[in-house]
Amino acid sequence: MRNPFLDFRSLPYEKKEIPLDRIVRAKQEIMDRVLEGYLHLVEEEVKDLVWLVEHSHVVRTYSAAVNCIRELHYDQDDIEEFCAELDSAKKIPYMISGPAGIYLSALINHAPEERIVLRPKDYDRTFHFLGYRLPESKTLIIQGNVGDFIGAGLSGGRLVVEGSVGNWCGAGMMNGEILVTGYAGQKTGEWMRGGEIHVDGSIGSLGRSRFGGKIYQRGKLVIPQELDDQY
């Protein structure tokens, strides 16, 4: 076939690239891999779109999540963007709350920054399991209301929630600090072994099985104190 493009042979092909192109391309690659990791996690851990909240499941899901993100180089902005993707569900066909929150926590725990701010108030969905196993030297600030199991298994980090939390806040936490400016739901501090939970608002109920740690309400220590009967 005759070359129909001959007229353009002498046109220099030089795409003028500005830094924006490189930044967007790089970020897009990272996001694609983060999303890929999440979808892979869901595929592995969630059968028939059902995921039961059991301790063994949570632990296994977290390990799987850590595996998924092992080789990734991302930052806080990528985590925020991932939250937005979870919320909009354009690229993610289904958001399963538990694994989504655990995956987010894995991202947060392994992010290079020591201080991370998330803004759930910008989103419609409710996030659960944020701050899971937050390690020492990490501070996670959450602006907005969140769901259940916030700060579960906290491992020395500092978790600040500028809003309210759901049930099982601080469940099984080992060490570290949780500050909640709003209210907390049922079974707060269930299975906690150490660390502190400070709640400025009301607390639905305290967890019955506790093995250590302290809970403060409006600055007053309520656990360990024999005030369980009030709840």
Binding site: I18, P19, L20, D21, I23, V24, Q28, E81, D122
Partner: protein, 519 residues
């Protein structure tokens, strides 16, 4: 002519050529607010003399003017491109920021970033020099920092690393992702707006001027509203945006009163406007005057005669008196065409159910109302008249009757009215709308009419062409179908998806108005 005028005259052809000859009038230099370099009204670009003179301390005048022109043309070429895009971007920003003023500013800044980045990435432009030498407010400085990052050009911007880092991730040059991008953009710049508020607000406008709606022609605004109606998920979404721009829309479309869904006191009734614009997306062409064959054959044209063909139509004159192939011509006859007897379009009666079981058209998109609107539009465009009977519980006063009219806004107002009560109509009211020429009747209902048997009896007796569209299936529908089965002039359509209503209605309209007359 001043020196600036001369410079403008010299650089305009070059700038125009650089941007591949956009259809813009020749820009002018004029006295203006000294902080506004550019004013784009109705595609006419006006450059502020004071701004150019102020910048001339650091830059050549030609560079300043060229940069401003590049910016203006980029807005025309790239973003927002048209009124519809502008509204969609604004809608997304408003959804995030929930404040009209902030949403407008966020939209303006976003469009500036897109337009400037597009220009810098595609062409050689002195635009960055303007930004390097211009000091603005908090938001302007943050945007300069962003530009510095994404363009890779030193603009002497300092600070705002966090903000510029977040903003630099957005794919500004990807038009398909603008809606997502402006949402994320708005979330980030909200912080800056709040900071500015705390410091007493912004006193300085952008050097590139504000991006109001004056730059759009009334035709662009009409088209934009049409696109927005199609795009909006609900009437309330459309309403919210239209209300925010009501003054500008009214000013820009002053002469088009009939097309604008105007309410009392010249405000826009956004709900009516919504359905009007949506119906415009389903237009049918205007019917041409029908012709039919007369039944008689007349000599029409000459064709060569071939050996073996009959002789009786040979034309001896054009055949030069010869009967031989190649010379002889014979007449081909054709039927004449005359106007058909059926001239003009019948009028139309639209009967629409607005009982409680139907969707409230002001809250959510009502396909029933849309279907009725499409039928009305088709008849009105063919210069017929439309009467509307909107019913709920007619006996208790839940009905609205509009006699034959060609006033769109009246018709739409009647169609869009929602009673939300029971479902009972009065056939006497339909009879009162009948005329000698038996208008076409469109009935749109979910058929849960309590006095359905009365309606059945009425339709059995009438001669009109009736199209009944009902939503869903129930025993009443069966009864209706059964009773109408033998009537040729009545057609009943059931829809499972309400979205099918407009298409069905238009199909019937097309049948009624456009099918050929005669054999």
């Amino acid at each position: 002519m001043t020196k600036l005028d001369d410079i403008l005259k010299e650089i305009w052809p070059r700038v125009k050529g650089k941007h591949l000859y956009p259809e813009l009038p020749v820009p002018i230099c004029a006295e203006g607010e000294d902080r506004v370099g550019l004013d784009i009204k109705g595609k006419k670009i006006t450059i502020s003399r004071e701004f150019v003179e102020e910048m001339s301390q650091a830059l050549e005048e030609s560079d300043t003017m060229e940069g401003l022109l590049d910016h203006a043309i980029s807005h025309y070429l790239c973003c927002p491109w048209d009124f519809s895009t502008h509204l969609k971007l604004y809608g997304e920003a408003k959804d995030v920021l929930r404040d009209k003023g902030m949403a407008q500013r966020a939209t303006d800044y976003f469009m500036d970033v897109v337009a400037d980045t597009h220009c810098v990435s595609q062409k050689e432009t002195p635009l960055p020099k303007i930004y390097r030498n211009f000091k603005g407010g908090i938001v302007d400085e943050a945007i300069h920092a962003l530009y510095q990052k994404i363009w890779g050009i030193d603009l002497a911007a300092t600070g705002y690393e966090d903000i510029s880092r977040k903003l630099s991730r957005l794919p500004y040059l990807d038009r398909t992702r603008w809606r997502d991008s402006i949402r994320r953009f708005s979330k980030v710049v909200k912080v800056l707006f709040e900071m500015e508020e705390k410091q007493g607000g912004s006193n300085e406008s952008s050097p590139m001027g504000d991006h109001g709606l004056e730059q759009y022609s009334s035709q662009e605004i009409e088209q934009g509203l049409k696109d927005l109606a199609l795009d909006a998920a609900t009437p309330s979404e459309f309403r919210e945006i239209v209300h925010d721009f009501e003054d500008e829309i009214l000013e820009a479309t002053e002469s088009k009163e009939q097309g604008m869904g105007l309410g009392p006191g010249r405000s826009i009734d956004a709900d009516i406007l919504y359905y009007m614009k949506l119906a415009e997306n389903y237009l049918l062409p205007i019917r041409r005057m029908p012709t039919k064959k007369s039944g008689s054959l007349y000599p029409h044209q000459h064709v060569p005669w071939e050996a073996g063909k009959p002789y009786q139509d040979i034309d001896p004159w054009t055949s030069f008196g010869k009967i031989m192939p190649g010379i002889t011509q014979t007449w081909r006859r054709r039927e004449g065409e005359i106007f058909g007897q059926e001239e003009g379009i019948p009028d139309c009666i639209v009967i629409i159910d607005s009982s409680g079981s139907m969707t409230d058209p002001r809250q959510r998109l009502s396909h029933a109302v849309l279907g009725a609107a499409c039928a009305c539009d088709a008849y009105l465009r063919n210069d017929a008249q439309v009467a509307v009977y909107n019913f709920s519980d007619a006996r208790s006063g839940g009905q609205k009757i509009l006699p034959y009219s060609q006033y769109r806004k009246q018709i739409y107002r009647t169609i869009c009215h929602y009673f939300g009560g029971g479902t009972r109509l009065l056939t006497e009211n339909i009879e009162a709308l009948q005329t000698e020429k038996a208008p076409d009747i469109f009935l749109i209902t979910d058929m849960q009419i309590t006095n359905l048997e009365v309606l059945v009896e009425y339709f059995n007796a009438c001669k009109n062409r009736v199209t009944a569209v009902h939503i869903g299936d129930n025993k009443h529908v069966e009864a209706f179908r059964h009773s109408m089965a033998v009537r040729k002039n009545i057609e009943i359509y059931g829809v499972v998806k309400k979205e099918d209503i407009p298409r069905i209605v238009l199909g019937k309209v097309q049948d009624y108005l456009y099918k050929k007359v005669g054999p």
